[in-house]
């Protein structure tokens, strides 16, 4: 009788663990849908936030990355190791910064079971022509996406310095299997201070 209860407990634990494994990857999708239902969803709010009329009045004190098309507005993390990726979008050390031009490279986890769960989960929603902004040391820089590509993880040239001021965002792709890297390149449109 006692063993029957233990067995029931074990069965519940098995179901809970497997539900967690199966359901958690879809949590960001649900959150995105929830935040963007109706006309004034988060994406629309963020799009408004990076418009010139708004941006000059509301430059945050911290370094931030705002990408409306993937509903992202998070502080940019600086750190020497990949461990920083667990805190949010990580500015790759040794690459440029927006104030210096060239190629600023920012990476993010596509999906993890623990927080931040999916920093760049919706990177595939970013399309050519979309706008995004980087707030860097009390200045705002807006960029227009000029290319999206999928490259193997051996292609480190995506981090190379460039003649024009650019931001490169990248993450793993496909979503469930970090086989390649999805790379988004944006060129500088405007600077605000």
């Amino acid at each position: 009788m006692k063993l029957a209860r233990v067995n029931t407990g074990l069965l519940c634990a098995i179901i809970a663990i497997n539900l967690y494994v199966i359901v958690t990857p879809f949590v960001p999708r649900f959150t995105f849908w929830w935040q963007n239902r109706g006309q004034h969803g988060r994406t629309a709010v963020l799009q408004q936030k990076i418009q010139p009329s708004h941006i000059v009045l509301n430059i945050p004190s911290d370094n931030r990355l705002v990408v409306p098309s993937m509903s992202l507005d998070q502080p940019i993390i600086e750190g020497p190791t990949m461990a920083s990726l667990m805190k949010g979008p990580w500015h790759i050390p040794g690459t440029s910064t927006p104030d210096k031009g060239s190629n600023t490279v920012i990476a993010g986890h596509r999906f993890t079971y623990t927080n931040p769960r999916g920093t760049f989960y919706f990177l595939d929603k970013v399309k050519v022509g979309d706008d995004f902004a980087v707030y860097w040391q009390h200045k705002a820089y807006t960029y227009k996406v000029v290319s999206t590509s999928q490259v193997p993880p051996t292609q480190i040239s995506i981090q190379n310095p460039r003649a024009t001021p650019e931001v490169t965002l990248f993450s793993c792709t496909p979503l469930w299997w970090p086989k390649d890297r999805l790379v988004i390149v944006g060129t500088l449109e405007n600077t605000y201070e």
């Binding site: 233990v6 098995i14 497997n18 667990m86 990476a107 596509r110 993880p153 480190i156 793993c172 970090p178």
Partner: protein, 35 residues
Amino acid sequence: MSEKVQFWVLLTLLLVSAAFLVFVNHYMQNAPLFK
């Protein structure tokens, strides 16, 4: 199936499930950015 056999089958399944969760979590977090 006796309760004792059920117990060992369920315990094994629980351990396999937990190990799978740890594996996928570790794999997702530690995939190298560049190889």
